[in-house]
């Protein structure tokens, strides 16, 4: 393990940016921090002190042109694969990328747009010094396992980060830093332990969240179908594909979409298989806690807590999953 004093973060990033494009949370000028490529001289926020929007906005932008048509030809707009380093995402966000990998990279038709940003991206994930009120990582998985999703785990010990390399690439990128002593290592382990909630019983959750549970009506009653739970989510991957006319041709772009919206499943005939807020709320929960575990053995929620904080009517996914509202 290595040590990075907070006073050295700017220098570390400057050094890193010599070989990699650095992506990190930067203030949006108000209360949020947003993931973007860090411009020279820009100071990223890597301490969990602000509400950091999900890195999904960078890995899967809210608007991305897939191709254009020009003079009767299709011009592929897949971005070039570059060397990136993503710093300051939460450990849960790094795990969310593992969920994304299953969705976007598995199978015989991998997604080239996501892959271009993911293929050579060193992940420096943060374990914040203070656990936010909304965070429930440990309810959705084994947080120690999530370290494998990172190149380097950064434990925030207040005035410094303990940097734990998890890969050869991570070791290479942190080799110039000073070594951490045993007391720092113990402090890092103790910090992560605060997020751990023991064994997660996926099967029990699945049984509690039965499709025909009569409680779904009650659970979804408050929902105003704004979709912010899905837009804030680091592991929600649903998208729409649309066309626009351009001068001399057309473009097809991908944009975020949400299973919470009525037209997500509305068919041309006028028939909608998920016609109200109840089936749509149920779909969001079951997709993450039952269908994705069945599909690839991983809960699709990472317990980051953003949906809990962003929901305008206070729907708390923890109460639903934990059984307080579904038993």
């Amino acid at each position: 393990m290595k040590l990075l004093p907070k006073s050295g973060v700017a220098g570390f990033i400057k050094e890193l940016s010599k070989t990699r494009e650095v992506v990190a949370p930067v203030s949006d000028g108000e209360s949020y921090a947003v993931f973007k490529s860090v411009a020279p001289g820009e100071t990223p926020i890597i301490d969990g002190s602000r509400f950091i929007l999900s890195p999904r906005s960078w890995f899967m932008p809210g608007y991305e042109v897939l191709f254009e048509t020009k003079d009767g030809e299709i011009v592929d707009k897949t971005p070039e694969t570059k060397a990136y380093a993503t710093i300051g995402l939460y450990l849960a966000d790094a795990h969310a990328l593992e969920v994304f990998d299953r969705v976007f990279l598995d199978g015989d038709k991998p997604d080239p747009y996501y892959n271009a940003r993911r293929a050579d991206n060193a992940i420096f994930a943060l374990v914040p010094a203070k656990k936010r009120w909304s965070v429930f990582w440990g309810m959705t998985g084994n947080v120690c396992d999530w370290k494998k999703a990172c190149d380097v785990v950064m434990y925030d010990l207040g005035s410094e980060f303990v940097m734990e390399p998890m890969t050869d690439r991570g070791a290479e990128l942190t080799k110039s830093l000073a070594d951490a002593d045993d007391s720092k290592k113990a402090a890092a382990d103790a910090l992560l332990a605060r997020y751990d909630e023991g064994e997660v019983d996926v099967k029990a959750i699945g049984e509690r969240l039965m499709w025909d549970n009569p409680k779904w009506e009650e659970v979804s009653r408050k929902c105003v179908a704004c979709g912010v739970c899905t837009y804030g989510c680091p592991s929600c991957s649903c998208f729409d594909m649309r066309d626009d006319l351009k001068c001399g041709g057309a473009e097809r772009y991908r944009c975020l979409d949400s299973c919470q919206h009525a037209d997500f499943t509305l068919m041309g005939s006028g028939y909608n298989p998920r016609p109200g807020r109840m089936p749509r709320t149920r779909q969001r929960l079951l997709h993450k806690f039952k269908y994705q575990p069945e599909q690839f053995g991983m809960i699709g929620c990472v317990g980051c807590g953003r949906c809990v904080e962003l929901c305008p009517v206070g729907i708390d996914i923890r109460k639903i999953v934990g059984g307080k509202e579904t038993k």
Partner: protein
């Protein structure tokens, strides 16, 4: 390979099937695309009208028809309206083949019963023509096809060809002056004809209400769930199991479907 990038194709022929449905015969403009293209009955495609959008259609042609593909579009929304305005010679985009297919190899040696309604004949036409072209592999082939009116029956120009290898029974909900055939619904006709379920596979596609009653009749005739096939329809965008729309339980209709038998369907959450 970019799975979101369509192949360019030229509309070679447009056939007006019914007052609201047209069949488009298209050929790939790139000879390499044309040479590499192969599919199985039941698979589907995403059709692009550039600048308007993309829409999902089954491949209604059969893999035994070489050199072109066909799809039938009922005019219901934005992309299908644009398609209905298209002319022969226009260039569109095709992403195909997508999804699974009817297990025609498993069906070898069995009798086949097709019960379709309206535009539901589009996916069944592909597998029907495929099986007719390989008639020696299958037993008795029976087709029961119905629509609201005689004008709503699709693929009329093929019925004589079908009759060479199959028993074809047509019915309409309401006849007109020229209609001398049967008047009535498909499930009722199925009950009346009472085909044997012995060594027989049934395929049914059509409006949900028709399917519901066809299923009842098939069960009454002794068909087992695993011997009844259909194609499920859900809204789709990506067609490759990523955009999330056609998710039912742990399945994606675009990857695990669109072809399912009723044993598989019984295991899904009933929201489709």
């Amino acid at each position: 390979m970019n799975p979101y990038k369509p192949m360019l194709a030229k509309i070679e022929k447009i056939t007006v099937e019914t007052p609201d449905t047209k069949t488009f015969k298209v050929v790939f403009t790139d000879p390499e695309d044309a040479a590499n293209f192969d599919y199985k009955p039941g698979q589907f495609q995403q059709v692009s009208v550039f600048g308007v959008g993309e829409c999902t259609f089954c491949l209604t042609s059969s893999p035994t028809m070489k050199g072109y593909i066909e799809f039938s579009a009922k005019k219901v929304g934005v992309v299908t309206s644009a398609l209905h305005e298209a002319e022969e010679g226009d260039i569109i985009g095709i992403r195909a083949p997508l999804g699974n297919h009817f297990p025609t190899d498993e069906w070898k040696g069995k009798n086949l019963l097709f019960a379709g309604g309206g535009i539901g004949m589009a996916p069944m036409r592909s597998v029907l023509n495929y099986c007719l072209a390989h008639k020696e592999d299958y037993g008795k082939i029976t087709v029961i096809y119905g629509s609201r009116t005689p004008a709503d029956l699709s693929y009329k120009y093929e019925y004589d060809e079908w009759r060479k290898g199959a028993d074809v029974y047509l019915t309409v909900d309401a006849g007109d002056d020229s209609w001398t055939g049967r008047v009535g619904h498909v499930p009722g006709y199925l009950k009346e004809l009472a085909p044997s379920s012995e060594n027989t596979v049934a395929v049914t596609c059509g409006p949900p209400i028709m399917i519901k009653f066809v299923l009842q009749e098939l069960k009454a005739l002794g068909f087992e769930d695993e011997n009844i096939y259909t194609t499920l329809e859900m809204k789709m965008k990506c067609g490759i199991g990523k955009c999330g729309r056609c998710n039912i339980g742990s399945k994606f209709v675009c990857v695990d479907g669109p072809v399912f038998n009723y044993k598989e369907i019984a295991d899904l959450p009933q929201e489709f």
